[in-house]
């Protein structure tokens, strides 16, 4: 099958699944099938989708959006609605063509309006298109052709009359409790069908697709149903079925746009009464124009709640998902994991102010001087075999740190230098000029770094000078309140020496234990830790991927493959086009990490993703790191499916990637442990062997082996 046909099939399929905020293949296919239980509606929906996608591609609109059904879902629903509301004749076909074009225009218009606020246009384009069609048809006097097309159908468009016929026999579902049958009807109403059987099929598909979405729809449905009964609305002969789908849609939308947590559930419960009121209000308001409300209440209320979630500071309001994921499960797991994984992206990459390994002799809230307003400060010394000095330690030169260069932690401007204080003899403190010789560097307004107790006349920077990260400033000394040579470091908000400290973490350094360096992504070093910057030398060309590069890969399981390095939205990815897999990565100084994986798990790229999830690329002797992996990447079978139900409340599944590198053997060993409730469930091991500067071999399990040439 050609690429062209594949894209088309995918775009049609996604148009259906996008109706319930998904891009799941089977969900799309299943929904497409059930619409054909009502052949006319089904056909209209499909036609409309094809026409809108076709028009979108003729107008050269975004191919990605077309492929992912973002233009198509409004079309499907429009087609279904027209098939359900209008009689089948030639005029319907004409109207479908016109409506499709109009829908696309509305869609692009709404998108232009909403996208800049990062908001979805939901089914607004559909609503507006259908309303316009219906408004046009009310002009009965002047337009006789509409009259003959529609006949009496226009009369049924009041909201009380808005009921749809059902092909399947309702009587067999009578035994179901009302709350259950109403749930199915609400689901099927999304497709402009009111059919328990269709709802049942959709519910099963939805359950297979996402437990969390299923849970959300039930919770909101029950809550809305109880509210409906509690208010006694059923006694007014208002069928719940006429508007129940609003709640189901809102639940589906929120489970996709919000990170589905406890807060998100509470948030969607909060939405119910508002939506209930809005449903009635919109129905009454639109009845004025003789128009049905359809799902307009859902659109407005969901939109408002999303805006509020965006504006809220995230403490009580649930967070919005960073990306629109395939399922709410992925949404939850990926967001939960990424929040912790990519925390360091929020911080400026400050590096440690020295060469080599130094030990924190006094940390934050230290007992000697790092207290109160000055708590976020660090004292560093050099130690060897547990001692800070060689010989007797009675002269400054005996101390390992004395006279060692100190460096700028980030780019900035030297704003303050003091170089007049004599170094103290060992054991003596100068309490009058307690900061000793120091340098203050301004990184930006409100962020200054101070290095104190420096050696007199060792400064190689001067006030006003621009310095870059890692530039040498002076030498470590023993001036000021410093009985023994050490380096005092702190961040502060003002350039005045001795200002209160502020807390900024250091990013991406190694904590040394013996010869092993444990990677620390983002935090202040703790007292007693020995820390060192990552090396500045990159080892080999292995991870230095550039956009447009091709990697040739050969493995014993998947044969010869070619991977491409591409870029989209400012992010880079490695792509296996043949198997449709994409691994998004970030390459920063000294660090290569995969951020996200999409597509088939039956390919070499998936193994590369797992085995090289996060790697230090600089030339280190030995390092180890561990990193959380989203449970969405590592599914745990049936147990995992069941655990999805409680995932919004408690996360039981945890995947941890841990790796160790030894430069001696040029080998990186990886272990990925997935555990459920603390019990080991699945362990995967990989070994990456580096061959020369440009190729590496990934091996895993008993037989898998893959060579990647960069």
């Amino acid at each position: 099958m050609g690429d062209w046909a594949k894209i088309w099939l995918r775009s049609i399929r996604n148009s259906y699944s996008s109706l319930v905020f998904s891009r799941d293949t089977w969900l799309g296919v299943a929904m497409l099938c059930v619409t054909f239980l009502y052949p006319l509606s089904g056909l209209c929906g499909l036609l409309c989708a094809i026409m809108v996608n076709g028009a979108a591609s003729l107008l050269s609109l975004d191919k990605f959006k077309m492929e992912n059904g973002l233009y198509g879902f409004n079309a499907v629903i429009l087609g279904l609605a027209m098939g359900a509301l209008f009689p089948p004749n030639a005029m319907l076909l004409f109207l479908l063509v016109v409506a499709s074009l109009m829908l696309l225009l509305w869609m692009v218009g709404w998108e232009a309006l909403f996208a800049k606020n990062h908001l979805p246009y939901l089914v607004f384009p559909f609503l507006f298109t259908l309303w316009i069609l219906l408004l046009m048809m009310q002009q009965r006097e002047g337009a006789s052709f509409v009259d003959c097309v529609l006949g009496d159908h226009v009369g049924i468009l009041g909201w009380g009359d808005f009921s749809l016929s059902s092909v399947s026999d309702h009587t067999i579902w009578l035994s179901l409790p009302e709350v259950v049958s109403e749930y199915f009807i609400s689901l099927s109403s999304i497709l402009f069908l009111q059919d328990v059987f269709v709802g049942l099929v959709m519910a099963v598909v939805l359950l297979c697709h996402s437990r969390i979405a299923f849970l959300f729809t039930w919770i909101t449905h029950i809550a809305a149903f109880l509210l409906f009964k509690g208010l006694g609305l059923d006694s007014f002969h208002i069928p719940y079925a006429c508007f129940g789908f609003n709640f189901t849609l809102a639940a589906l939308a929120l489970s996709c746009y919000l990170v589905p947590s406890k807060r998100a559930i509470l948030y969607s419960l909060l939405l119910i009464p508002v939506l209930m009121v809005m449903v009635f209000a919109s129905t009454r308001g639109l009845a004025y124009f003789n128009l049905p409300a359809f799902s307009s209440a859902f659109c407005w209320v969901t939109l408002l709640f999303l805006v509020v979630a965006r504006q809220g500071n995230g403490r009580y309001v649930p967070r919005l998902s960073y990306l629109l994921e395939r399922t709410p499960e992925e949404n939850l797991y990926n967001n939960q994991t990424n929040e912790r994984r990519f925390l360091w992206y929020h911080y400026h990459p400050f590096s440690l102010p020295f060469y080599g390994e130094w030990r924190v002799s006094q940390g934050v809230d230290g007992v000697y001087t790092h207290q109160g307003l000055w708590r976020d400060a660090l004292d560093f010394v050099i130690e060897l075999d547990g001692s800070q000095y060689k010989g007797r330690g009675d002269s400054l030169g005996d101390y390992y740190c004395y006279g060692k260069p100190v460096l700028a932690v980030a780019d900035g401007e030297v704003v303050c230098v003091e170089n007049s204080v004599e170094d103290n003899p060992v054991g003596v403190s100068n309490k009058r000029e307690n900061w000793g010789n120091y340098v203050v560097i301004k990184h930006w307004d409100g962020c200054y770094s101070l290095l104190a107790h420096l050696k007199r006349d060792s400064f190689i920077c001067s006030v006003g000078q621009r310095v870059k990260r890692g530039d040498e400033l002076a030498l470590c000394g023993n001036s000021g309140l410093s009985p023994y040579p050490h380096l005092h470091f702190q961040f502060q908000a003002s350039p005045v020496v001795g200002s209160p400290t502020i807390h900024c973490p250091f990013v991406n350094y190694l904590r040394k234990e013996d010869t092993m360096g444990h990677f620390v992504p983002c935090r202040f070093p703790l007292e007693g830790e020995t820390v060192k910057n990552l090396s500045i030398r990159i080892r080999g060309r292995h991870y230095q991927l550039y956009v447009g590069q091709t990697l040739s890969v050969s493995s014993n399981r998947y044969g010869e493959e070619i991977w491409y390095v591409g870029e989209a939205y400012g992010y880079r990815f490695v792509e296996d086009r043949k198997r449709g897999a994409k691994a998004w990565f970030a390459l920063s100084e000294g660090l290569f990490e995969f951020q996200r994986y999409e597509g088939s798990e039956e390919c070499g790229l998936y193994h590369f993703f797992l085995s090289n999830y996060k790697v230090i690329t600089t030339d280190e002797e030995a390092w180890s790191l561990s990193e959380e992996m989203s449970p969405a990447i590592r599914r745990t079978g049936w147990v995992g499916y069941l655990l999805d139900f409680i995932a919004p409340f408690k996360s039981c599944v945890k995947s941890v990637f841990s790796t160790q590198w030894s430069a001696k053997e040029c080998v990186m060993d990886v272990q990925i442990v997935t555990s459920i409730g603390g019990h080991e469930h699945r362990v995967t091991k990989y070994r990456t062997t580096f061959e020369g500067e440009e190729s590496l071999v990934v091996s895993g399990g008993s037989d898998f082996s893959m060579r990647i040439a960069f």
Binding site: K404, P405, I536, R537, E621, A663, K664, C666
Partner: protein
């Protein structure tokens, strides 16, 4: 008959107190153990003579050296000089501490590979590399340090034939203001040989010249020589990068750092005289830190120091065989370890200790080995307390070059042990036997 000339009797007042202005305190200081392991016990278990290495000293040395450089300069690597001591356990210990391997022959290269060193962490030095050696090294992506024009031509041809682009450096020799200036290895800087070689590499474009190598000599006791060396090498690297576009990424400044041993020509002892790693590091890095390479690139500093890392971690334990008064009146003490085991005694005054503590009466002694050769003298003149047969003598600073340059001559080569950090003693190498010698004969 002519009357014999009168010789007055020699009277020497011995005062066992603080040293006066006439000399140092001559009191003997005993050493009865190595890292807590009694020498007597070592002899009982492993026999005499015996080479003893101290794990804790080895580790301390390399850590001190690494720290001295790495807290002054961001990128420093050490490559263990195999020829200094290629006992597998010693090499492995250095590799464990992160050292690369520096080898000078195909044999040493294979040894490094067998010790588990990744081949791209092997530096291949030396003036005589065979075609097979070069092939092996270039296929393993090792760093080949080219010594001469013939080798450069050979390697270029091999690179073309094999379709490999080997990573190389050229060895440079230069005048660092010391005597003797070693000019027999590598390409001379001042005469322009080095630049010619670099130009050749750049114009032929078959080799990837990623580094520059220089080793100014051995047992260099003045740090200023390194300052000069670093200045000249950095300038050459800068030129090679900017004018020839060579991808120079490291400077291998060789070794030559002095251990605390005492040279025969030196009046003061090495312990008082020789610079520390900190002194060397300060001299080298303070120069290199000021050099701005293109694109703010930081050169990786590579050292292949051997002696200073291992000398003080090795001891030779020996037993007294006999005392003799020679015809000229000097005392001659014969021990069971000779120059066949202690090659370095030809240029060092090795420190010698006994197990006798606080003996005031010391006698100038000639310490001889057991060989039936007149040259077998370990120390010409050393103050020792009176020793008798079977007394233990410990010879210090023997870790470098001896267990590689020793020979099987008259006696067999003895056992080598290592005192581990946990106090255990491991046998590193067994003593030779007659069968070992005969096995190779037909």
């Amino acid at each position: 008959m002519e009357k014999k000339r009168y010789e007055r009797p020699l009277l020497k007042r011995i005062v066992p107190t603080m040293p006066g202005k006439t000399g140092q305190n001559t009191n003997a200081v005993a050493q009865t153990e190595i890292d807590g392991v009694p020498l007597e016990g070592l002899r009982e278990r492993f026999g005499s003579p015996l080479f003893v290495f101290s794990e804790s000293r080895l580790r301390k040395n390399i850590r001190e050296a690494k720290q001295a450089f790495s807290t002054r300069y961001p990128e420093v690597r050490f490559a263990w000089s195999y020829k200094t001591n290629y006992l597998n356990s010693i090499c492995s210990l250095f590799h464990e501490e992160g050292s690369w391997a520096e080898v000078v022959s195909g044999f040493e290269y294979d040894k490094a590979i067998e010790n588990g060193v990744a081949s791209n962490r092997i530096i291949f030095n030396g003036p005589s590399k065979s075609e097979a050696d070069l092939l092996k090294a270039m296929r393993g992506d090792s760093l080949i340090h080219i010594d001469n024009t013939e080798e450069l031509r050979l390697l270029t041809n091999l690179a073309v034939a094999e379709g490999i682009r080997p990573r190389v450096a050229i060895r440079v020799n230069l005048d660092a203001g010391i005597y003797p200036a070693w000019s027999r290895f590598g390409f001379n800087l001042e005469s322009g040989q080095a630049w010619d070689a670099l130009e050749k590499i750049a114009s032929e474009n078959r080799l990837s010249c990623v580094g520059l190598h220089c080793h100014i000599g051995t047992f260099i006791q003045t740090v200023n020589a390194y300052r000069v060396e670093t200045e000249k090498m950095a300038a050459l690297a800068l030129d090679a990068m900017t004018k020839l576009g060579l991808p120079i990424s490291y400077l291998d400044l060789g070794g030559g750092f002095a251990s605390k041993n005492s040279l025969k020509s030196s009046y003061l002892t090495g312990e008082d005289l020789c610079p520390s790693f900190d002194d060397y590091a300060e001299a080298i890095t303070s120069v290199l830190r000021r050099v701005k390479f293109p694109g703010d690139k930081k050169m990786v500093l590579v050292f292949e120091t051997g002696r200073a890392l291992v000398d003080n971690a090795g001891f030779l334990l020996s037993s007294v065989i006999t005392n003799k008064r020679m015809a000229d009146g000097r005392l001659n003490t014969v021990i069971d370890a000779g120059v066949n085991l202690l090659f370095t005694s030809f240029w060092y005054n090795h420190k010698v200790t006994t197990t006798y503590d606080n003996v005031a009466l010391m006698e100038p002694t000639t310490l001889c080995g057991p060989l039936c050769m007149n040259i077998d003298v370990i120390r010409d003149n050393v103050l020792l307390p009176p020793l008798k047969r079977n007394d233990l003598v410990l010879i210090h600073y023997v870790g470098a070059y001896n267990v590689t340059q020793w020979m099987q001559f008259i006696t067999m080569r003895p056992k080598v042990v290592m005192v581990k950090e946990n106090g255990e003693v491991h046998l590193l190498r067994d003593a030779e036997t007659l069968a070992d010698i005969n096995r190779m004969e037909h």
